[in-house]
């Protein structure tokens, strides 16, 4: 229906005439006949807005949103306050482009400056960029930075990094030629090789089984091997745990979805990328900095642009252009809404719900822990049944039971989970397993 092309027939005729054409087809005379799509696209004709909305609702209704969520694995079921939604999705933020003209983009630029400050604090390092795609691709960029910084191609990757994140790192390593060495978890903690000279060591904290890693030890390994320490962290954990930066991480990346972004079937999410100041010139993606305007008024602008692809081209630190700015704005607003006390409270409530869930399910026959190491907001269990089957059966009971990994199931509980839901979950699991 092309509702969104405003031109009237008269206007089209006038405009065509003024450029010396007599039909819209002539606009495409430069396209060789052989390449013209004679019959047009083989697609249904356009619908009205309302029929379109009805179809979208039909599709949405075919998803189970009634499931009480105990799944995590990098995507967490947190509450989002109305204020954050309302403000973050104001059309000035939603329909703006990259702030190439800072004089009319102070809104987005300042929001990103505040975002960078908040995220750098969570990571415990000096610099955060203006966002990357997601946690998985942030790991890829961290590896690239480290290899460039150390000139060493080998990277030790902990088995505690989410499976899909490791797969992603591996996919891109095929292009860069990095050599990835898988490092196993032993009772829920990464056990590093005795020797070797990697350019970087990458681990996740807390890791995919929910276990809290020994970052001090990891730092020691990095020092011993001359590698950079790359930590994929859960930013919510910084509400209670020491920050990776404070424990010596060189690059700290993570997934920002927990701050204001719904589960969204996996995207758009938010790639957090932070590092020590010494690495800022290798930082991937955009960076906003404070400066002044001609009248010496405070102003913000994207800076150190010479790192970027549009200027440095094949020598750029990364190929990232479009990032996840709007989600970064959401994150900044959500973190401001939580505030210092709220972040701690959020982390504490996740930990409490997880402990309660842990205690409830480990009482069930045949359920054993995947690891004994301390956990924060999720934990792994071994089951007498294939985890995929358990997930399907639990769905029939109204629960998303968890995320299967390493033959077990990782169960997460956020501040949204109540005692009643946790009890019901345990009862359902007992029923499914019996």
């Amino acid at each position: 229906m092309g509702h969104y092309v405003p031109h009237t027939d008269d206007e089209i005729a006038t405009m065509l005439a003024s450029i010396g054409l007599s039909s819209l087809d002539e606009l495409f005379d430069v396209v060789p006949d052989a390449l013209r799509l004679a019959a047009g696209l083989d697609m249904a004709p356009g619908l009205s807005e309302y029929d379109t909305a009805d179809e979208m609702v039909r599709l949405a209704d075919r998803n189970r949103t009634d499931l009480v969520c105990f799944a995590g694995g990098g995507a967490y079921d947190h509450d989002v306050p109305s204020a954050v939604r309302r403000v973050a999705f104001r059309t000035e933020f939603v329909t703006a482009y990259t702030p190439y003209q800072p004089e009319v983009a102070q809104g987005v630029l300042q929001a990103l400056f505040e975002y960078q400050t908040l995220v750098a604090r969570l990571a415990g390092v000096e610099v955060a960029n203006a966002s990357l795609y997601d946690g998985a691709t942030a790991c890829v960029e961290a590896v690239n930075l480290a290899v460039a910084a150390t000139g060493r191609q080998t990277v030790w990757v902990s088995g505690g990094v989410h499976d899909t994140w490791r797969d992603t790192v591996r996919t891109f390593a095929a292009g860069t030629g990095h050599e990835l060495v898988d490092v196993p978890l032993v009772d829920g903690r990464t056990s590093w090789p005795a020797d070797g000279a990697p350019g970087a060591i990458l681990l996740q904290h807390p890791n995919k089984l929910g276990c809290i890693e020994d970052l001090a030890e990891a730092r020691a390994v990095a020092d011993r091997t001359g590698a950079l320490l790359l930590v994929a962290f859960d930013p919510v954990a910084s509400g209670l745990l020491r920050t990776p930066g404070s424990l010596g991480a060189d690059v700290v990346v993570g997934e920002g979805q927990p701050f204001g972004t719904p589960l969204s079937f996996g995207g758009p999410y938010l790639g957090l990328f932070t590092c020590r100041l010494e690495h800022v010139r290798r930082l991937p993606g955009r960076l906003v900095g404070e400066t002044v305007d001609v009248a010496d008024r405070r102003a913000y602008v994207t800076t150190l642009r010479t790192r970027e692809q549009d200027i440095r081209r094949e020598k750029a630190s990364s190929n990232v252009c479009t990032n996840q700015t709007l989600i970064a704005v959401v994150c900044a607003i959500q973190l401001s809404w939580l505030g210092t006390a709220g972040l701690r409270e959020l982390a504490l409530r996740c930990a409490r719900a997880t402990r309660a869930t842990h205690d409830a399910v480990l009482g069930i026959d045949g359920v054993t822990p995947m690891a004994t190491a301390p956990y924060f907001r999720e934990f792994g269990i071994n089951l007498p049944l294939e985890p995929g089957v358990v997930v399907e059966r639990m769905a029939e009971e109204g629960f998303l039971a968890g995320v299967p990994t390493d033959g077990g199931l990782v169960v997460a509980a956020t501040e949204r989970r109540t005692a009643a839901q946790i009890d019901a979950y345990a009862d359902a699991l007992r029923k499914v397993l019996s």
Binding site: P6, L35, T65, P102, G107, L241, R242, L263, Q309, V320
Partner: protein, 500 residues
Amino acid sequence: MSSAAGGKATSIPLMGRDDEPTIFELSEPGRVAASFRDQGLPEWTAEELLPDWALADESVHLTEVSERDLVAHFTRLSHRQYSVDLGAYPLGSCTMKYNPKLCDEAAALPGLANVHPSAPASCTQGWLELLADLGDALCEVTGMAAITLQPPAGAAGELTGLLLMRAWHEAQGRQRTKVIIPDSAHGTNPASVTLGGYQTVTVPSDDRGLVDLEALRTVLDDDVAGIMLTNPNTLGLFEEDIADIAAAVHGVGGLLYYDGANLNAILGVTRPGDMGFDIVHMNLHKTFAVPHGGGGPGAGPVAVSERLAPFLPGPIPERRDDGGFGWMTPERSIGRVHGWHGNALALARAWSYILVNGGDGLRRVAEGAVLNANWVRHQLRGHYDIPFDRPNMHECVVSATNVRKRVGVKAIDVAKRLLEEGFHSPTTYFPLIVDEALMIEPTETESPQTLAALCEALIRIADDASDADHDAPRTTPVGRVDEARAARRLIPTWDARQEA
């Protein structure tokens, strides 16, 4: 035509001069906005739950503001921001079209937004059907056989495409080292080539602004993995020799990669697949009405021809014979390129946009975009240089060289002056092969009135150009920003500022 221009943000010239304090300056010890639901759980302390060695001595300091101050702060920031919904945004190569509001609401449906990405297919049939339908539609639009929806942006699509190229060549048992790109290519192309493990070979444009076929032939050899092109190219010109180019590249066993940033120009008119391309990425945030969000998120699906399908990232949604949907991973998949399924909600927006437009509507989009861009080129003739003054597609690139020579006013000054006139600036200094380049993409959603007002402003700026223009813009929230100082004296966070 009526006098008033719909797309001119006549309210823009007064966006606030006062600066807005940072959220940190608004912060006050003890202030709280957050509240939490009643969980009914024992109130275990952190010490009861976690080992001492892991616990921080003090919590990370964020902010301490009321919801009221939080809302006001970000609302005021929004008033210091230009956007498509305020006025025209003729930013070449970015396709800043108006995005139907219905797409916003579609993407906000709880049935789409509240689904965990790990939920089993049995619980996400709606999502799988949506993604499968979208994939089919995008294959039809590009003339390709199979697709991955995982890449979250165009550059990610490029790199995914190059890894597919590499995997394919390896499957043929050969190592190739070079990828060819034209000198007019976007920066992400060479950057992706490097990350794909290839060297960039640049081929010049000829005096038509098109790939120099002869020059191309001279660099083609069996070490060439492929070529990356946009068509129309970044000058907004259609690569008329594309068939010969394809034949030549295929002749040496190379593959053709299509950078879909300019797909808006040819929707329903011609298809990369029919031109001979093997791999195509689309920028759904340009062509399919995903709003840019101040720089993202977008979506950069990659579609391929039959022979490359087995290498696509997985998992991929597939139709089951029973009418249901499931996930499948191609047997020789290069692996995943995103933590989950890509920017899913952006994909949902794109699907709603395709539904509302339909095949007929998409062709209208291309017609409107190309009509508008050609009309603008005709208007500006005589006031700006037009290095390649021939029928263009969705955008036209003009040059301020004459203005600079005359009065020393550069493309950047023209861009800043246009901000004063209530329009966003065109893309400047790109493509690199045009000096003082102003790359103008009006898009199809701007009306003739808006175009007329835009051209009048641009013409006035060129004709009345003077030294004073170096002081532009003067009516914006802040005046011209000192970019050099930002790099020289780096202040990337509020904390750095405190120390500085």
